[in-house]
Amino acid sequence: MQATRMISGRAIPWGAKNIDTDIIIPAKWLKTVSRDGLGRGAFESVRAVPGNIFDVPANQGAPILLAGDNFGCGSSREHAAWAMLDMGLQAVIAPSFSDIFSGNAFKNGVLAVTLDEVHIARLMAVAADGAIITIDLENQVVTSDRQDRFAFAIDPFRKMCLMQGLDEIALTLAADDAISVHEARQAEDAPWLVPAQG
């Protein structure tokens, strides 16, 4: 994972609720065996409309997306996070996220920042007016160049991983002994847990 500490730039004032991962990246793009190049399919049905919010000149290359409740619901496809990264989005600010999407975003260094609706409404207004929004992970605040300052919460472990760009698998393998102990206990207490061979 790449280290992420601060994201700053234009924010796309979308605000749509219940954005599912089929909207973020339709299934036809999932035939790939790579993580790269999915930006071409990102938000495809939305971006098929001329003058859509992602492609107006002011929002091109914006690193932050402002969205509504339950962002990333539906399919578990991590391609949603990969597609967003590939089109240049490094953070989403929303009142709530689906559980699977927020995990996938985190694993790819995409910040899924939860703020109150009223604060997002304010950010939507200033973003539409061209404000620069900054997400400061270390201090856990979202600020704007229009005097806004909103604190956000984040799981301390996720924050540490994001700030240091840690490889979670390497971290877990450091607990290898504990995993082996569990396996040995399970083999003793519940030998039936190993699948029978057809």
Binding site: K17, N18, A27, V33, S75, S96, A178, I179
Partner: protein, 475 residues
């Protein structure tokens, strides 16, 4: 006396390998299902870091999402290559990965192949009290057997392959209690659509839902799989149903289930799993079975549910202004006007299949309506896609395939098919599909496709009349 615990808490406690100060736990994973779409990048990550699959014996790979459902062998029995180069490459990648990492594999030409969420229970790979994951959100289905089962992303697939564990924060618990007898024509699919209509697609976010009550207890295992499958459409990463005699009878004798003395020991453990009578849930949602009618969706969210006797709602009928906007957008996409009777909506495509409704009882329910009948002229495309090769063989032994083909349906090979607009089975732009699948999202069944979710029997009734239809007229 120890604290009363829910089924979820009992499974969680038994799988904690390590615990961090913030309560996050390293959870051991007993079962890992792998398919071709969400695994290639995970195996590539292992290879790049020189890592192995820690427990191939707890892993099972099956291709399903991207596999065409047209015949897989020619008249001489020779495999027919997959026409789409990317899809063929993705399947070849899975086959290369299972070989080089030693993962058990049920391939495209194996009679046991099918949708992972049909194959797992069918093979007895899914067991009560286990933790089970797969890179697919409908992994929630396996909760019907009392497994803590949930969908994961590809980074987590790689993490499980490498370590057989996941770091997880404990979920909150939600009890959905359905009590009473279901009216004739009302199926498990109607029950879960009704529940999602009540709690909304974010109602279960952060929670594991345990489905309980007499209605659930009286259901067979295949109906329970339909219910738990769609917990994710209610926002919950996992659904659960207490294991009981129905679950044990379903599992006994299945190829990968324990045998002999091991079986007896397993059943003794499973009997200790149901939530204690005084266990406390964070949320409780009571549902009266008598309130549930055969149901159908009108919009582009699974919560957009009405009884088949109902009408397309007016956006202004919703209290929340954001929901009003969403409803307007849904109606524009769906090409529907407020006030239209659901039964007046004409249908061009019928899809019977998906991990929600492709098991033998689903096919029997649809065939019971179609026997001696034919699809309407305006139904352009109607397909039945069995959930596995074994379901297909069972249906053929019962003559169900002929009922479907006589009714004008195509009888296909197993796979995810038209549920997700990925493989060649797609609904054309602007056309409607009466679909037994689980998601009616914009573009889900193909760009511009318009999906109405319903039960297999309701899909069959819609095929016969050529529009959405109250199945009770055919009972």
């Amino acid at each position: 006396m120890s604290k009363a615990r829910t089924l979820y808490e009992k499974i969680w406690d038994a799988h904690v390998v390590a615990r961090r100060d913030d309560g996050t736990c390293l959870i051991f994973i007993d079962r890992h299902l792998v398919h071709e779409v969400t695994s290639p990048q995970a195996f590539a990550g292992l290879a790049a870091n020189g890592r192995q699959v820690r427990r191939p014996d707890l892993t099972l790979a099956v291709p399903d999402h991207n596999l065409p459902t047209t015949p897989r062998v020619d008249a001489a029995g020779k495999p027919i290559p997959i026409a789409d180069a990317e899809s063929a490459a993705q399947l070849a990648t899975l086959e290369a990965n299972v070989r080089s990492f030693g993962v058990p594999y049920i391939g495209a030409h194996d009679v046991r192949q099918g949708i992972v969420h049909v194959v797992g229970p069918e093979q007895g790979f899914t067991l009560p009290g286990t933790t089970l994951v797969c890179g697919d959100s409908h992994t929630a289905a396996h909760g019907a057997l009392g497994a803590l089962a949930f969908g994961i992303g590809t980074s987590e697939v790689e993490h499980v392959l490498a370590t057989q564990t996941l770091w997880l924060a404990p979920s909150k618990t939600m009890a959905v209690v359905v009590e009473g007898a279901l009216a004739p024509g009302v199926t498990a699919k109607d029950v879960i659509l009704h529940i999602i209509g009540q709690i909304g697609t974010a109602g279960g976010t952060g929670h594991v839902i345990e489905f309980m009550g007499s209605t659930i207890r009286n259901m067979g295992m295949e109906e329970r799989l339909t219910i738990s499958n769609m917990a994710i459409e209610g926002g919950a990463r996992a659904g659960l149903i207490a294991p009981d005699a129905t679950s044990f009878a379903y599992l006994q004798g299945r190829p990968m289930a324990p045998k002999g003395a091991a079986w007896d020991a397993a059943v003794r453990h499973w009997q200790s799993l149901p939530s204690d009578a005084d266990a406390v849930f964070d949320k409780c949602v009571p549902i009266n079975a008598a309130d549930i009618a055969p149901s159908v969706t009108w919009g582009t969210s699974p919560e957009d549910v009405v009884p088949i006797t109902g009408h397309v709602p007016a956006p202004e009928s919703f209290a929340d202004p954001a929901k009003q906007d969403a409803a307007r957008a849904s109606l524009a996409y769906m090409g529907l006007n407020p006030g239209t009777a659901m039964q007046d909506i004409a249908i061009e495509n019928i899809f019977i299949g998906s991990c929600t409704n492709s098991r033998i009882e689903d096919l029997r329910a649809a065939a019971a309506i179609l026997r001696g009948r034919r699809k309407a002229e305006n139904v352009r495309w109607a397909i039945v896609v069995p959930g596995s090769g074994l379901v297909k063989a069972q249906a053929e032994a019962e003559g169900l395939d002929r009922i479907f083909t006589d009714a004008g349906f195509e009888w296909r090979e197993p796979g995810c098919s038209a549920c997700l607009g990925m493989n060649p089975d797609k609904v054309p732009a602007g056309e409607r599909c009466a679909s037994t699948s689980n998601r009616n999202f914009v573009g889900r069944q193909g760009p511009g496709s318009r999906t109405h979710l319903l039960s297999p029997a309701m899909a069959a009734a819609a095929a016969v009349r050529g529009r959405l239809t109250d199945v009770r007229e055919y009972l």
